[in-house]
Amino acid sequence: MFQSSASRWCIAVGFIIALGPVRADDQIPANHWPGEQGLTWASIAKLPNWRGLWYPDPKSFRESDQAISNPKHTPYSAPLTPKWEAYRLAHAAAPGGFPANASKANAALCLPDGMPALMQAPHGFEFFYAPGRVAIVAENGEVRHIYTDAGAHPDDPDDTWEGDSIGHWEGDTLVVDTIAIKPVAEIFMGLPNASDKTHVVERIHLNAQKEIQVDTVVTNPDEFTKPFAYTRTWQSEPGRAVEYVCLEGNRATPSGTIDLTPPAGL
Protein backbone atom coordinates (compact mmCIF):
# COMPACT_ATOMS: atom_id res chain seq x y z
CA MET A 1 0.00 0.00 0.00
CA PHE A 2 1.29 3.45 -0.87
CA GLN A 3 2.19 5.93 1.80
CA SER A 4 1.63 9.62 1.36
CA SER A 5 4.81 11.66 0.95
CA ALA A 6 4.04 13.45 4.22
CA SER A 7 3.77 10.24 6.18
CA ARG A 8 6.92 8.91 4.54
CA TRP A 9 8.69 12.10 5.61
CA CYS A 10 7.45 11.69 9.16
CA ILE A 11 8.62 8.12 9.21
CA ALA A 12 12.01 9.13 7.87
CA VAL A 13 12.39 11.84 10.53
CA GLY A 14 11.27 9.40 13.19
CA PHE A 15 13.80 6.91 11.93
CA ILE A 16 16.64 9.40 12.13
CA ILE A 17 15.64 10.47 15.63
CA ALA A 18 15.40 6.87 16.71
CA LEU A 19 18.90 5.99 15.56
CA GLY A 20 21.27 5.22 18.38
CA PRO A 21 24.01 2.82 19.38
CA VAL A 22 21.42 0.05 19.80
CA ARG A 23 18.12 0.09 18.01
CA ALA A 24 15.21 -1.78 19.54
CA ASP A 25 13.13 -3.87 17.17
CA ASP A 26 10.14 -1.56 17.54
CA GLN A 27 12.28 1.29 16.25
CA ILE A 28 13.18 -0.44 13.02
CA PRO A 29 11.41 1.30 10.15
CA ALA A 30 8.54 -0.71 8.74
CA ASN A 31 8.19 -2.23 5.30
CA HIS A 32 6.48 0.41 3.16
CA TRP A 33 6.79 -1.27 -0.21
CA PRO A 34 3.66 -0.95 -2.36
CA GLY A 35 1.41 -3.89 -3.08
CA GLU A 36 0.62 -6.93 -0.98
CA GLN A 37 3.32 -7.40 1.67
CA GLY A 38 1.78 -10.18 3.73
CA LEU A 39 1.53 -8.09 6.84
CA THR A 40 -1.96 -9.42 7.61
CA TRP A 41 -3.64 -12.77 7.04
CA ALA A 42 -5.90 -11.10 4.45
CA SER A 43 -2.83 -9.90 2.60
CA ILE A 44 -1.15 -13.30 2.87
CA ALA A 45 -4.16 -14.84 1.12
CA LYS A 46 -3.26 -12.75 -1.95
CA LEU A 47 0.41 -13.78 -2.02
CA PRO A 48 1.68 -16.44 -4.45
CA ASN A 49 0.83 -19.97 -3.37
CA TRP A 50 4.15 -21.78 -2.87
CA ARG A 51 2.66 -24.50 -0.72
CA GLY A 52 4.37 -27.85 -0.65
CA LEU A 53 7.86 -29.23 -0.78
CA TRP A 54 10.53 -28.00 -3.22
CA TYR A 55 13.74 -29.80 -4.11
CA PRO A 56 16.71 -28.60 -6.17
CA ASP A 57 16.42 -29.83 -9.75
CA PRO A 58 19.22 -31.71 -11.57
CA LYS A 59 20.29 -28.56 -13.44
CA SER A 60 20.85 -26.76 -10.16
CA PHE A 61 22.82 -29.69 -8.77
CA ARG A 62 25.07 -29.72 -11.81
CA GLU A 63 25.72 -25.99 -11.68
CA SER A 64 26.42 -26.07 -7.94
CA ASP A 65 28.77 -28.99 -8.47
CA GLN A 66 30.60 -27.09 -11.21
CA ALA A 67 31.02 -24.08 -8.95
CA ILE A 68 32.47 -26.19 -6.17
CA SER A 69 34.67 -28.79 -7.75
CA ASN A 70 35.57 -27.97 -11.34
CA PRO A 71 39.26 -27.04 -11.41
CA LYS A 72 38.64 -25.00 -14.55
CA HIS A 73 36.79 -21.75 -14.74
CA THR A 74 33.24 -22.33 -15.92
CA PRO A 75 30.24 -20.08 -16.40
CA TYR A 76 29.19 -21.25 -12.95
CA SER A 77 32.43 -20.43 -11.17
CA ALA A 78 32.45 -17.88 -8.39
CA PRO A 79 34.52 -14.73 -9.13
CA LEU A 80 36.84 -15.38 -6.22
CA THR A 81 39.81 -13.25 -5.26
CA PRO A 82 43.17 -14.88 -6.04
CA LYS A 83 43.55 -15.99 -2.43
CA TRP A 84 40.18 -17.71 -2.29
CA GLU A 85 40.40 -19.10 -5.81
CA ALA A 86 43.70 -20.73 -4.82
CA TYR A 87 41.95 -22.13 -1.76
CA ARG A 88 39.12 -23.53 -3.86
CA LEU A 89 41.43 -24.99 -6.50
CA ALA A 90 43.58 -26.67 -3.88
CA HIS A 91 40.53 -28.53 -2.70
CA ALA A 92 38.73 -28.99 -6.00
CA ALA A 93 41.67 -31.01 -7.27
CA ALA A 94 41.25 -33.67 -4.61
CA PRO A 95 40.50 -37.30 -5.55
CA GLY A 96 36.91 -37.93 -6.46
CA GLY A 97 36.36 -34.37 -7.56
CA PHE A 98 35.59 -33.54 -4.00
CA PRO A 99 36.96 -30.70 -1.90
CA ALA A 100 39.98 -32.01 -0.04
CA ASN A 101 38.85 -30.24 3.08
CA ALA A 102 35.38 -31.76 2.86
CA SER A 103 35.89 -33.71 6.05
CA LYS A 104 36.04 -30.30 7.72
CA ALA A 105 33.02 -29.03 5.79
CA ASN A 106 30.04 -28.10 7.89
CA ALA A 107 27.87 -30.93 6.56
CA ALA A 108 30.41 -33.63 7.41
CA LEU A 109 30.60 -32.28 10.95
CA CYS A 110 26.80 -32.11 11.20
CA LEU A 111 26.97 -28.33 11.45
CA PRO A 112 24.56 -26.11 9.51
CA ASP A 113 25.41 -25.16 5.95
CA GLY A 114 24.40 -21.60 6.75
CA MET A 115 23.95 -18.88 4.17
CA PRO A 116 24.16 -18.81 1.27
CA ALA A 117 25.13 -22.51 0.93
CA LEU A 118 21.86 -23.72 2.41
CA MET A 119 19.87 -22.62 -0.62
CA GLN A 120 21.74 -25.05 -2.87
CA ALA A 121 21.94 -27.94 -0.44
CA PRO A 122 20.35 -31.27 -1.42
CA HIS A 123 17.34 -31.01 0.85
CA GLY A 124 13.65 -30.34 0.45
CA PHE A 125 12.45 -26.85 1.33
CA GLU A 126 9.09 -25.43 2.38
CA PHE A 127 7.85 -21.85 2.64
CA PHE A 128 5.61 -20.77 5.49
CA TYR A 129 3.89 -17.41 5.77
CA ALA A 130 2.69 -15.53 8.83
CA PRO A 131 1.88 -11.83 9.09
CA GLY A 132 5.16 -10.00 8.64
CA ARG A 133 7.12 -13.23 8.30
CA VAL A 134 8.23 -15.75 5.72
CA ALA A 135 10.06 -18.83 6.94
CA ILE A 136 12.05 -21.14 4.70
CA VAL A 137 12.35 -24.50 6.39
CA ALA A 138 14.93 -26.98 5.09
CA GLU A 139 14.73 -30.70 5.73
CA ASN A 140 18.05 -30.65 7.53
CA GLY A 141 16.47 -28.53 10.23
CA GLU A 142 17.84 -25.15 9.23
CA VAL A 143 15.25 -22.37 9.25
CA ARG A 144 15.50 -18.94 7.69
CA HIS A 145 13.35 -16.28 9.36
CA ILE A 146 12.60 -13.52 6.86
CA TYR A 147 11.11 -10.37 8.37
CA THR A 148 8.75 -8.86 5.82
CA ASP A 149 7.42 -6.24 8.22
CA ALA A 150 10.79 -4.56 8.64
CA GLY A 151 12.18 -1.90 6.35
CA ALA A 152 15.74 -2.22 7.60
CA HIS A 153 18.10 -4.54 9.42
CA PRO A 154 18.70 -4.00 13.12
CA ASP A 155 21.76 -2.01 14.03
CA ASP A 156 24.79 -4.17 14.72
CA PRO A 157 23.02 -7.55 14.69
CA ASP A 158 24.80 -10.63 15.98
CA ASP A 159 26.33 -12.77 13.26
CA THR A 160 24.38 -16.01 12.78
CA TRP A 161 24.50 -19.03 10.48
CA GLU A 162 21.49 -17.87 8.43
CA GLY A 163 22.14 -14.15 8.88
CA ASP A 164 19.59 -11.40 9.40
CA SER A 165 17.03 -11.43 6.59
CA ILE A 166 14.50 -8.78 5.69
CA GLY A 167 12.15 -9.21 2.76
CA HIS A 168 9.49 -7.55 0.70
CA TRP A 169 7.24 -8.53 -2.15
CA GLU A 170 7.52 -7.00 -5.60
CA GLY A 171 4.38 -8.44 -7.09
CA ASP A 172 4.88 -12.21 -7.19
CA THR A 173 8.59 -11.99 -6.34
CA LEU A 174 9.93 -12.21 -2.81
CA VAL A 175 13.07 -10.11 -2.45
CA VAL A 176 15.27 -11.08 0.48
CA ASP A 177 18.25 -9.10 1.79
CA THR A 178 20.57 -10.92 4.16
CA ILE A 179 23.56 -9.67 6.19
CA ALA A 180 25.29 -10.59 9.46
CA ILE A 181 26.33 -14.10 8.43
CA LYS A 182 28.91 -15.95 10.50
CA PRO A 183 32.10 -16.55 8.53
CA VAL A 184 31.92 -20.26 9.41
CA ALA A 185 28.75 -20.51 7.33
CA GLU A 186 29.56 -21.53 3.78
CA ILE A 187 29.25 -19.96 0.34
CA PHE A 188 29.06 -23.51 -0.93
CA MET A 189 30.35 -26.76 0.46
CA GLY A 190 33.94 -26.45 1.62
CA LEU A 191 34.16 -22.69 1.01
CA PRO A 192 33.51 -20.54 4.08
CA ASN A 193 32.48 -16.91 4.07
CA ALA A 194 35.75 -14.96 4.13
CA SER A 195 34.40 -12.49 6.67
CA ASP A 196 31.15 -11.19 8.07
CA LYS A 197 30.82 -8.75 5.15
CA THR A 198 28.81 -11.15 3.01
CA HIS A 199 25.65 -9.59 1.63
CA VAL A 200 23.10 -11.79 -0.12
CA VAL A 201 20.20 -10.52 -2.21
CA GLU A 202 17.73 -13.10 -3.50
CA ARG A 203 14.79 -12.67 -5.83
CA ILE A 204 12.48 -15.67 -5.49
CA HIS A 205 9.53 -16.39 -7.76
CA LEU A 206 7.62 -19.19 -9.46
CA ASN A 207 8.89 -19.29 -13.04
CA ALA A 208 7.15 -20.33 -16.25
CA GLN A 209 8.23 -23.94 -15.68
CA LYS A 210 6.40 -23.85 -12.33
CA GLU A 211 9.66 -24.14 -10.47
CA ILE A 212 10.78 -21.93 -7.60
CA GLN A 213 13.53 -19.81 -9.11
CA VAL A 214 16.04 -18.21 -6.76
CA ASP A 215 18.14 -15.52 -8.44
CA THR A 216 20.99 -14.82 -6.06
CA VAL A 217 23.69 -12.17 -5.89
CA VAL A 218 26.38 -12.57 -3.25
CA THR A 219 28.89 -9.85 -2.50
CA ASN A 220 31.81 -9.70 -0.11
CA PRO A 221 34.86 -7.59 -1.01
CA ASP A 222 37.03 -9.93 1.07
CA GLU A 223 36.11 -12.94 -1.10
CA PHE A 224 34.85 -11.90 -4.54
CA THR A 225 36.24 -9.62 -7.25
CA LYS A 226 32.72 -8.83 -8.37
CA PRO A 227 29.21 -9.94 -7.34
CA PHE A 228 28.70 -13.73 -7.52
CA ALA A 229 25.41 -14.07 -9.37
CA TYR A 230 23.70 -17.41 -9.94
CA THR A 231 20.27 -18.96 -10.30
CA ARG A 232 19.03 -22.13 -8.64
CA THR A 233 15.69 -23.76 -9.36
CA TRP A 234 13.65 -26.04 -7.15
CA GLN A 235 11.10 -28.44 -8.55
CA SER A 236 7.88 -29.37 -6.83
CA GLU A 237 8.38 -32.55 -4.84
CA PRO A 238 5.45 -34.79 -3.93
CA GLY A 239 5.11 -36.24 -0.50
CA ARG A 240 6.07 -35.09 2.90
CA ALA A 241 9.29 -33.60 4.20
CA VAL A 242 11.89 -36.19 5.17
CA GLU A 243 13.42 -35.78 8.59
CA TYR A 244 17.20 -35.40 8.61
CA VAL A 245 19.07 -35.70 11.88
CA CYS A 246 22.72 -35.70 10.94
CA LEU A 247 24.16 -36.64 14.30
CA GLU A 248 22.01 -39.77 14.54
CA GLY A 249 24.23 -41.91 12.40
CA ASN A 250 27.15 -39.84 11.20
CA ARG A 251 30.07 -42.13 10.35
CA ALA A 252 32.23 -39.41 8.78
CA THR A 253 35.06 -38.39 11.09
CA PRO A 254 36.86 -35.04 11.21
CA SER A 255 40.03 -36.79 10.02
CA GLY A 256 38.24 -37.81 6.84
CA THR A 257 37.92 -41.51 7.60
CA ILE A 258 34.74 -43.56 7.93
CA ASP A 259 33.76 -45.19 11.21
CA LEU A 260 32.91 -48.76 10.20
CA THR A 261 31.72 -49.98 13.58
CA PRO A 262 28.79 -52.30 12.79
CA PRO A 263 25.44 -51.72 14.47
CA ALA A 264 24.89 -53.64 17.69
CA GLY A 265 24.01 -57.27 17.11
CA LEU A 266 25.84 -57.69 13.81
Binding site: A94, P95, G96, P122, H123, C246, E248, G249, T257
Partner: protein, 135 residues
Protein backbone atom coordinates in the same frame (compact mmCIF):
# COMPACT_ATOMS: atom_id res chain seq x y z
CA UNK B 1 7.92 -47.93 -6.14
CA UNK B 2 9.75 -46.09 -8.86
CA UNK B 3 12.48 -48.72 -9.04
CA UNK B 4 12.71 -49.91 -12.62
CA UNK B 5 13.91 -53.16 -14.06
CA UNK B 6 16.86 -52.45 -16.22
CA UNK B 7 20.21 -53.80 -17.20
CA UNK B 8 22.78 -54.04 -14.47
CA UNK B 9 25.70 -52.51 -16.29
CA UNK B 10 23.91 -49.21 -16.72
CA UNK B 11 24.86 -48.06 -13.25
CA UNK B 12 28.46 -49.14 -13.50
CA UNK B 13 28.76 -47.49 -16.91
CA UNK B 14 28.52 -44.07 -15.29
CA UNK B 15 25.09 -43.14 -16.58
CA UNK B 16 24.16 -41.69 -13.24
CA UNK B 17 25.03 -38.14 -12.41
CA UNK B 18 26.63 -38.09 -8.99
CA UNK B 19 27.84 -34.64 -8.01
CA UNK B 20 30.18 -35.74 -5.28
CA UNK B 21 30.95 -32.20 -4.27
CA UNK B 22 27.45 -31.86 -2.87
CA UNK B 23 27.74 -35.01 -0.81
CA UNK B 24 27.68 -35.12 2.95
CA UNK B 25 31.34 -36.00 3.24
CA UNK B 26 34.40 -36.62 1.12
CA UNK B 27 34.29 -39.56 -1.25
CA UNK B 28 38.07 -39.49 -1.48
CA UNK B 29 38.15 -42.45 0.93
CA UNK B 30 36.61 -44.65 -1.76
CA UNK B 31 38.31 -45.97 -4.87
CA UNK B 32 35.90 -44.47 -7.35
CA UNK B 33 37.85 -45.94 -10.28
CA UNK B 34 37.13 -49.47 -9.11
CA UNK B 35 33.71 -51.12 -8.95
CA UNK B 36 33.47 -54.50 -7.27
CA UNK B 37 30.48 -56.78 -7.78
CA UNK B 38 29.43 -59.56 -5.43
CA UNK B 39 26.54 -61.66 -4.34
CA UNK B 40 25.54 -60.82 -0.79
CA UNK B 41 23.07 -61.63 1.95
CA UNK B 42 21.45 -58.72 3.72
CA UNK B 43 22.03 -58.47 7.46
CA UNK B 44 20.58 -54.99 8.03
CA UNK B 45 19.45 -51.89 6.18
CA UNK B 46 20.53 -49.26 8.72
CA UNK B 47 17.87 -46.66 7.91
CA UNK B 48 19.49 -43.59 9.48
CA UNK B 49 20.72 -40.19 8.38
CA UNK B 50 22.99 -38.66 7.34
CA UNK B 51 23.63 -41.79 5.27
CA UNK B 52 21.87 -45.11 5.18
CA UNK B 53 24.19 -48.12 5.44
CA UNK B 54 23.55 -51.55 4.00
CA UNK B 55 25.21 -54.29 6.02
CA UNK B 56 25.70 -57.53 4.10
CA UNK B 57 27.58 -60.80 4.27
CA UNK B 58 29.77 -61.42 1.25
CA UNK B 59 32.04 -64.36 0.47
CA UNK B 60 35.42 -63.78 2.09
CA UNK B 61 38.74 -65.55 1.90
CA UNK B 62 38.14 -69.27 1.56
CA UNK B 63 34.45 -68.66 1.10
CA UNK B 64 33.74 -67.78 4.71
CA UNK B 65 31.10 -65.03 4.93
CA UNK B 66 32.39 -61.63 5.92
CA UNK B 67 30.45 -58.60 7.10
CA UNK B 68 30.65 -55.53 4.86
CA UNK B 69 29.19 -52.06 5.30
CA UNK B 70 28.05 -50.31 2.12
CA UNK B 71 27.16 -46.65 2.26
CA UNK B 72 24.11 -45.38 0.40
CA UNK B 73 22.74 -41.84 0.41
CA UNK B 74 20.49 -40.03 2.86
CA UNK B 75 16.97 -41.18 3.54
CA UNK B 76 15.48 -38.32 1.51
CA UNK B 77 17.45 -39.17 -1.63
CA UNK B 78 16.66 -42.86 -1.26
CA UNK B 79 12.94 -42.26 -0.78
CA UNK B 80 12.88 -39.93 -3.77
CA UNK B 81 14.61 -42.68 -5.71
CA UNK B 82 11.89 -45.16 -4.80
CA UNK B 83 13.47 -46.87 -1.80
CA UNK B 84 11.83 -47.52 1.52
CA UNK B 85 13.02 -49.03 4.78
CA UNK B 86 11.52 -52.29 3.47
CA UNK B 87 13.26 -52.36 0.08
CA UNK B 88 15.49 -55.10 1.45
CA UNK B 89 15.10 -57.22 4.56
CA UNK B 90 17.37 -59.40 6.60
CA UNK B 91 18.17 -62.60 4.74
CA UNK B 92 17.52 -61.26 1.24
CA UNK B 93 19.96 -62.52 -1.35
CA UNK B 94 21.09 -59.64 -3.52
CA UNK B 95 23.90 -58.60 -5.82
CA UNK B 96 25.79 -55.42 -4.99
CA UNK B 97 28.17 -53.20 -6.91
CA UNK B 98 30.30 -50.80 -4.90
CA UNK B 99 33.41 -48.66 -4.82
CA UNK B 100 35.64 -50.19 -2.12
CA UNK B 101 37.35 -48.20 0.59
CA UNK B 102 40.95 -47.35 -0.27
CA UNK B 103 41.93 -48.41 3.23
CA UNK B 104 41.16 -52.05 2.46
CA UNK B 105 38.57 -52.25 5.21
CA UNK B 106 35.37 -54.16 4.54
CA UNK B 107 33.37 -51.19 3.40
CA UNK B 108 32.41 -49.29 0.30
CA UNK B 109 30.15 -46.85 -1.44
CA UNK B 110 27.09 -48.58 -2.85
CA UNK B 111 26.77 -48.09 -6.61
CA UNK B 112 23.81 -50.34 -7.34
CA UNK B 113 21.91 -53.31 -6.00
CA UNK B 114 20.05 -56.15 -7.71
CA UNK B 115 17.09 -57.04 -5.53
CA UNK B 116 15.77 -60.61 -5.12
CA UNK B 117 13.13 -60.00 -7.82
CA UNK B 118 15.79 -58.88 -10.31
CA UNK B 119 15.08 -55.19 -9.99
CA UNK B 120 18.19 -53.04 -10.23
CA UNK B 121 18.40 -49.71 -8.51
CA UNK B 122 20.93 -47.26 -7.14
CA UNK B 123 21.05 -44.97 -4.11
CA UNK B 124 19.60 -42.29 -6.37
CA UNK B 125 16.85 -44.33 -7.94
CA UNK B 126 16.67 -46.26 -11.18
CA UNK B 127 19.88 -46.17 -13.23
CA UNK B 128 19.91 -43.23 -15.58
CA UNK B 129 17.10 -41.42 -13.81
CA UNK B 130 19.40 -38.52 -12.97
CA UNK B 131 18.32 -38.27 -9.37
CA UNK B 132 19.73 -36.00 -6.71
CA UNK B 133 23.14 -36.21 -5.19
CA UNK B 134 24.42 -38.08 -2.18
CA UNK B 135 25.04 -36.04 0.95
Amino acid sequence: MRIAKTVFFAAAAGMIFIPAALAHHSYAVFNRKKTEVSVAMVRLLEWKNPHVWLWVLMPGTGGAPKLWGLEATDIGSLKRGGWSKNTVKTGDKVKVAFHPLLSGQAGGSLVSITLPDGTVTTPYGPPGAGGGPPQ
